[in-house]
């Protein structure tokens, strides 16, 4: 027997489908925080997640409902890892070359919303939904929320005129989409404040990004996804993690993909020089599962781990962190007021322009150019900054609540 059920409108629970970008782990944590706040405002709202690895690891740990169609999704994270080479990821071109993955995943998504009676779709940088609903507006279902932490593709300088032409063309298409079909995004939320939007233009004769964003987005403030420890908690957490008062802990973290190997190589090479300058130095390198920590030399004061449980705790109490230029990790360090060196991936416009602009606004972190940094320079910076007090602007702690309020108005 082939049986189906049609629920009467009055019998249906209020439902949301949540899509969280799987590129990096940052979206997952902030989206869980946002979903928790949304449920406080709308306790009856049932949230399903259309999600893929590595987002699903976070969702499973939180006991969230993962839609079974998630298994059909083509993996975006693997594509991004495949596109990276050394400390280099041409993020814009990688997104362009992800077109067939986005197409495949949109078709899965559309079948889910066609059959799921969802009142609300929340897409945290769900590029496929945003693009293809604007291209096929008749397919839209329910209220639609778009979240992002950057607006505008920006060309890398060495891409020359051609790359500037391409980013301008992509920006123009996005602007035309919103102008023609303003009803596709019922709410657009910028995860940050107005000043976090870059002061550039969309290219060519297109408008200034900040002016346009102001007209088309609401601002939630930054969503950290965790509460940084209070100053009086620091010694307790440090003690629990096994960090002694008489040592200066430098945590080196590069995310879970193999992309971080190039940075680890340089930082490990810098360790002996830094240790000589700062004898109390203890360097904790988190390689992630895809990098073989046994391949590095063993030295007193240097330790390498494939995985560290609750890495954010280590980052929140360290005396210095060395990281890539991703938004989530650098903003966690900013919120926790830890000194850090950050090395944006080469050709990654988001890390090099959008994230760097935001960190500058908070007065946070020390920018490092990977290509121009040899072990001597890295060691000198570590010695200079480890344990040094910082003077960052406070990171807002109500971003998830504000975003949830903006969304709750729709359901």
């Amino acid at each position: 027997m082939n049986a189906t059920t049609w629920p009467r409108a009055a019998s249906r629970p209020s439902r949301a489908l949540y899509l969280s970008s799987p590129i990096g782990l940052g979206h997952a944590r902030r989206d869980v925080a946002l979903a928790n706040e949304l449920r406080k405002l709308r306790p009856e709202l049932q949230i399903d997640w259309l999600a893929q690895h590595p987002v699903t690891t976070v969702l499973e740990a939180e006991g969230e409902r993962i839609h079974p169609a998630s298994r059909w999704l083509a993996n975006e994270s693997a594509h991004i890892a495949d596109e990276a080479s050394g400390h280099d990821l041409h993020c814009f071109q990688a997104l362009r070359r992800m077109d067939e993955i986005l197409m495949a995943n949109f078709m899965v998504f559309q079948e889910v919303v066609d059959e799921g009676c969802y009142d609300l779709v929340i897409g945290d940088e769900a590029w496929d939904v945003d693009y293809y609903w604007h291209e096929n507006p008749e397919l839209k279902r329910g209220q639609n929320v778009w979240l992002t932490d950057f607006v505008g593709y920006l060309p890398m300088p060495d891409g020359g005129d051609h790359e500037a032409f391409l980013t301008t063309d992509y920006n123009a298409e996005m602007i035309e989409h919103i102008d023609r079909y303003p009803w596709i995004r019922d709410r657009a939320i910028f995860v940050g404040g107005e000043a976090d939007v870059v002061p550039d233009t969309f290219g060519g004769t297109l408008p200034a990004i900040r002016d346009w964003t102001d007209q088309h987005f609401s601002y939630s403030g930054y969503i950290t996804g965790f509460t940084p420890p209070e100053p009086e908690e620091l010694p307790i957490i440090r003690d629990r993690l096994g960090y002694r008062d008489d040592e200066l802990v430098c945590v080196v973290a590069v995310g879970g993909s193999g992309v971080g190997r190039a940075l680890i190589d340089k930082v490990v090479a810098a360790f002996p020089l830094a240790k000589k300058a700062v004898p109390e130095l203890r360097m904790v390198v988190v390689t992630g599962p895809r990098i073989d920590s046994a391949a590095y030399p063993q030295r007193p004061g240097l330790e390498l781990h494939g995985y560290v449980h609750r890495l954010y705790e280590h980052l929140s109490v360290c005396d210095l962190a060395v990281v890539q230029g991703g938004l989530t990790t650098t903003m966690e360090l900013t919120a926790a007021k830890r000194p850090f060196l950050y090395f944006p991936l080469a050709h990654h416009f988001e890390q090099n322009f959008h994230v760097r602009h935001r960190l500058n606004r908070y007065g946070a972190g020390h920018y490092m150019d990977y290509a121009a940094s040899d072990p001597d320079l890295i060691a000198a910076r570590i010695a200079e900054l480890v344990g040094k007090p910082v003077d960052y602007r406070d990171v807002e702690s109500d971003g998830a609540v504000r975003a949830a309020q903006l969304i709750a108005e729709l359901v």
Partner: protein, 288 residues
């Protein structure tokens, strides 16, 4: 990275030419996505394969002259009947009794041959922007003469010329792909097309132009033989083949016609969502 990996692949030797095929998914019925002109290869279906393979079984193969198939130098090896015979050989080697065939542009000619002459192997046919000799002909229909004329310089469609291809193949590709995608914001689709065309070479492509085609009289004879359901899709902003030609072809075949208002020559690449949904609707209807 590809969105979807084949579950099987292989090559079949057909009349001395290696034909490389791929099979995706495990569903039913089987959809064979036919090759188009050897300018492109089977990657031109990349926006269809993951979706269709989730519902059906999908078979693709690279055309002789590009991709991972052989590149015969003899123009006789590029006659339309060879492409149709390649398709049959791939159906055989994959143990596929019947398939819905989907052809884009030149792929319509080989699809028509299959549907007309091997009705037991074809349960339905979808033709996207069919390049067939019916209805209003493009202004450049004296193309054989144009194709072989030596000129001082080449502008616009004069670049569709064997001598020009030998001297500046990439510029021809840039031109042709910009004609193929007349829609704004099609940089990626054009780049993809140029890239796939660079997987072959101008000598091979010249040979593909000189093979025999399905001419107007034969086309009508073949069309009269077709018994399976047929669907034609065509963009009204197609600069390669006018949509009126696709409409006339649909009329000839008593086929359903879906016009894509404002679309260029390759809606499966530029408007893939709608093309995918139209294909699925057609397949589900005839599979019932």
């Amino acid at each position: 990275m590809r969105a979807c990996q084949p579950v099987a692949e292989g090559t079949v030797d057909r009349d001395g030419v290696e034909i490389h095929y791929e099979r995706y998914g495990h569903g039913s019925p089987t959809i064979m996505l036919l090759p188009t002109w050897s300018l492109l290869h089977s990657r031109c279906w990349k926006m269809q394969i993951p979706f269709l393979a989730r519902h059906y079984q999908v078979i693709t193969f690279d055309p002789r002259g590009n991709g991972r198939s052989g590149r015969p130098t003899d123009e006789q090896a590029y006659g339309e009947r060879h492409f149709a015979a390649d398709a049959l050989a791939v159906l055989d080697v994959t143990d596929t009794d019947r398939a819905v065939v989907v052809g884009f542009s030149m792929g319509a000619q080989r699809g028509l041959l299959l549907a007309a002459e091997h009705p037991e192997r074809v349960s339905g046919a979808v033709f996207i922007a069919p390049a067939v000799a019916v209805g209003p002909v493009p202004a450049r229909e004296n193309w054989v003469e144009e194709f072989t004329t030596v000129r001082e310089s080449y502008a616009g469609w004069q670049k569709y010329n064997r001598h020009y291809w030998m001297s500046d193949y990439e510029d021809f590709l840039e031109f042709f792909l910009s004609e193929m995608f007349t829609e704004p914001h099609s940089t990626k689709q054009r780049e993809d097309g140029v890239g796939w065309a660079l997987d072959t070479d101008p000598e091979t492509l010249i040979a593909t132009q000189l093979g025999s085609r399905v001419e107007a009289d034969e086309l009508r004879t073949l069309a009269a033989l077709v018994r399976c359901p047929v669907l034609v899709m065509h963009g009204t902003a197609d600069a390669i083949r006018p949509s009126a030609s696709g409409a006339a072809f649909a009329d000839l075949l008593n086929a359903a016609l879906v016009l894509f208002d404002g679309s260029g020559h390759a809606p499966q690449a530029r408007d893939p969502v709608r093309v995918n949904l139209v294909i699925k609707q057609f397949v589900d209807r005839i599979a019932r």
